[in-house]
């Protein structure tokens, strides 16, 4: 059973990793923890649902449009709401993020109530047996897409000039501004990219699960737990944290109690904060004064 749990856990974990990565990118660029991020995932899922089910667009086109729409929404959230209060207290920024998330959720509830919606089957329904381990086409498509995107982001951040500029902003916004970088533009783009990556999570989730307006809650909790586990603010830590969390959930569920599946994200957050506050891959920041 263990090999199957690991494979299935990793397949689940890549989605947590994607959410954690996009939250981390926004956090690193803007120092804002977006507590409405889970609702952006929900937003992406519902936008692709509308485009595919109501507008009858092909899934791929609908998915790309959903990413574009959520990118624009992310930019809009920054320009219209966040930018105005960025110099204010962190609590106000956090509350604004929360309010935006609730606003999106409320909008979805107005349109769909608390209905749980099935998405048409998009991915082929194949399963392969590797010994006793079942690997499905869902697993491969979702994991392949997310891992492929992560590879692109890795190259973008570490090899290209744009990536190095972004990393400069990640390390010190004031320093980046002093050397002439347009930090506000970076914030704008990162809010857009963060929302688009959240939308990708929703677009990939939609065909393999059921959609409902409150689905962003569990997404946020797991994304946050993955960030904490990997090390708050580290990009590779967010990814690895997501993968580990996916496996831990299933292993605890199978070997300890299925009641642990839903609380394991909270258990991870508590344990990490108590035992290793910087997470598995984070580094303690030492400030010389």
């Amino acid at each position: 059973m263990l090999p199957q749990l690991v494979v299935s856990g990793l397949a689940q974990g890549v989605l947590y990793a994607l959410v954690a990565l996009s939250m981390t990118m926004v956090y690193r660029a803007t120092t804002v923890v977006n507590f409405g991020h889970g609702d952006l995932v929900m937003g992406g899922a519902f936008v692709v649902y509308v485009l595919v089910v109501y507008a009858h667009l092909p899934y791929l086109l609908g998915g790309l449009l959903a990413l574009t729409i959520l990118f624009a929404l992310g930019v809009g959230i920054h320009q219209g709401l966040m930018r105005r209060i960025m110099t204010g207290p962190h609590l106000a920024i956090a509350m604004m993020a929360l309010a935006v998330g609730y606003g999106l959720r409320g909008g979805a509830r107005v349109l769909w109530g608390r209905e749980v919606l099935p998405f048409p089957r998009i991915f082929p329904d194949h399963a392969w047996m590797l010994g006793d381990v079942v690997v499905t086409s869902d697993n491969l498509i979702v994991s392949g897409t997310v891992l492929g995107l992560m590879a692109v982001l890795f190259v973008l951040f570490n090899v290209t000039r744009t990536g190095r500029l972004l990393q400069a902003v990640f390390q010190s916004q004031r320093g980046a501004a002093l050397v002439g970088l347009n930090v506000d533009a970076v914030h704008r783009v990162m809010w857009g990219v963060g929302a688009a990556l959240a939308a990708l999570g929703g677009v990939l989730l939609a065909p393999i699960t059921l959609l409902y307006p409150d689905m962003g809650v569990w997404v946020l909790v797991r994304g946050f737990a993955a960030m904490t586990l990997g090390g708050f603010g580290t990009l590779h830590g967010a990814v690895l944290g997501g993968l580990i969390l996916g496996v831990v959930e299933l292993v605890l569920g199978a070997y300890v109690s299925t009641a642990f599946i839903d609380i394991s994200a909270y258990v991870v957050v508590i344990a990490v904060l108590l035992l290793r506050p910087d997470g598995l891959f984070g580094q303690q920041v030492v400030v010389r004064v």
Binding site: M1, Q4, L5, S8, G9, Q12, R109, G113, R114, V116, P118, P120, R121, D125, A127, V134, T136, L205, I208, T209, L210, Y212, D214, M215, V217, W218, E249, L250, G253, A254, S257, T258, A259, I261, D262
Partner: protein
């Protein structure tokens, strides 16, 4: 003579005094008797909502809000009352149905019930699909003493027995027991696993199912949790696979039930699964969206015959004839909920017939308690109500797909209804 006359007057006076005193004592005695019996408020209250030509009934339910799809449970009875009115009513009285919206919210529900009782002055309350709202309004209903016949599944509404409250549809207890009964009717089914949400709703089904199994010498092999909002049931599916279970009972909402079925199929676990009554058979099929994954899926079935059969078709025709456009689904085809609310109205009409031409609350309640093997023509079981038991129905069937993939109603494992 004067004496005599005087004596006569005295006697007359004494007689008058005696009569007055006797009348006074009789009145006091009757009043004390009424108090001693703890009688339901008599007179106008007892006849509230009844005129020479009408019977006013409160039809309470979630006509608006997130749970408004449950208002179909209110429209089924409405159609039946209109049908009865078209036949002349009962004892010369026609039914006047007053709808009140509880929006499936406790506070709104209490206000709606009070409005029906005190402002609209209805004789009784019917339907009330949302269990939480029904529980919240129960103290009002008990205090006012007016008859209540509801469809909400919470057994605590009518157990222990409440003088004026009745169930003629299934409570969660009997739905749970029906799940277990169907599972154990499979030959050699011993390894039964329960998968449930960790909330009161799921316990309402799984606890009676466990009780039934224990009564029949079967201990559940495992109790697995699958929380509300879960999107994955890998761990549960693998544990079921490892345990080589004979049957799975899913006390789950429809969405999570669909996820369990999907993942069981994904991991090649070919085990029969019976869900709880809260899920709809066809809707679950749609959510799973994979015919291979629902081949071994069943749900308790509360009706006496398969949908579309002549026994049920007559009710469909009645709904279509007596309900207006906004009261039917958009496609015009009544869902199962329309049928499930229907017995409340059928029992109400029957009780009014039995209560006679001068009905009162007491006579109505007494009439309800005479129901013995009463066939509603809708439900799988016949209604039996006594003074000590106000839960009228218990037994039900199961619905699943037969080998040809056709929806089939079973009285037990492998025994389709003819």
């Amino acid at each position: 003579m004067a004496f005599c006359h005087h004596t006569d007057e005295a006697i007359n006076s004494a007689e008058v005094n005696m009569k007055t005193r006797t009348g006074f004592l009789t009145a006091v005695g009757l009043a004390l008797l009424a108090l001693a019996l703890g009688a339901i408020p008599a007179g106008a209250d007892s006849m509230q909502g009844i005129t020479d030509t009408t019977i006013k009934i409160g039809n309470i339910g979630p006509y608006t809000g997130d749970a408004s799809s449950y208002s179909a449970l209110n429209y089924g009875p409405l159609a039946y009352f209109r049908y009865v009115n078209s036949q002349g009513g009962v004892h010369g009285r026609k039914f006047e149905i007053v709808a009140a919206d509880d929006a499936c919210k406790e506070t709104t529900g209490i206000a709606a019930a009070k409005k029906l009782i005190h402002q609209d002055k209805v004789f009784m309350l019917l339907v009330q699909p949302c269990s939480g709202v029904a529980m919240a309004t129960k103290p009002v209903v008990v205090e006012e003493g007016l008859p209540w016949i509801g469809v909400s599944a919470n057994p605590k509404l009518t157990t222990p027995t409440v003088k004026n409250m009745f169930h003629v549809t299934y409570t969660g207890v009997y739905s749970g027991r029906a799940m277990a009964r169907f599972a154990l009717s499979k030959p050699n089914a011993k390894k039964v696993i329960l998968v449930a949400h960790t909330n009161d709703w799921a316990k309402g089904y799984c606890d009676p199912a466990t009780e039934y199994m224990k009564e029949h010498g079967v201990e559940p092999l495992m109790n697995l949790a699958l929380e509300r909002g879960s999107t994955d049931a890998t761990a549960q599916s693998l544990r079921i696979k490892t345990a080589n279970a004979d049957f799975v009972l899913g006390c789950l909402y429809e969405a999570e039930l669909a996820i369990l079925l999907r993942d069981l199929h994904k991991y090649g676990v070919n085990v029969p699964v019976i869900g709880a009554l809260g899920a709809d058979f066809e809707s679950t099929h749609k959510r799973v969206n994979n015919p291979a994954a629902v081949k071994n899926f069943y749900l308790p079935y509360q009706f006496k015959a398969p949908m579309g059969s002549p026994d049920m078709k007559k009710w469909e025709d009645m709904f279509v004839k007596f309900l207006e456009k906004g009261e039917l689904p958009e496609n015009g085809v009544p869902t199962n909920f329309y049928y499930f609310g229907l017995p409340t109205a059928i029992a109400t009409v029957e009780a009014f017939k039995r209560a006679g031409p001068q009905p009162s609350r007491e006579k109505f309640i007494a009439a309800m308690e005479t129901f013995k093997d009463f066939d509603t023509g809708v439900l799988a079981d016949k209604v039996n109500v006594t003074h000590d038991n106000h839960v009228g129905v218990q037994d039900m069937y199961a619905v699943g797909l037969n080998e040809q993939g056709k929806q089939t109603v079973y009285s037990a494992w492998g025994k389709p209804l003819l």
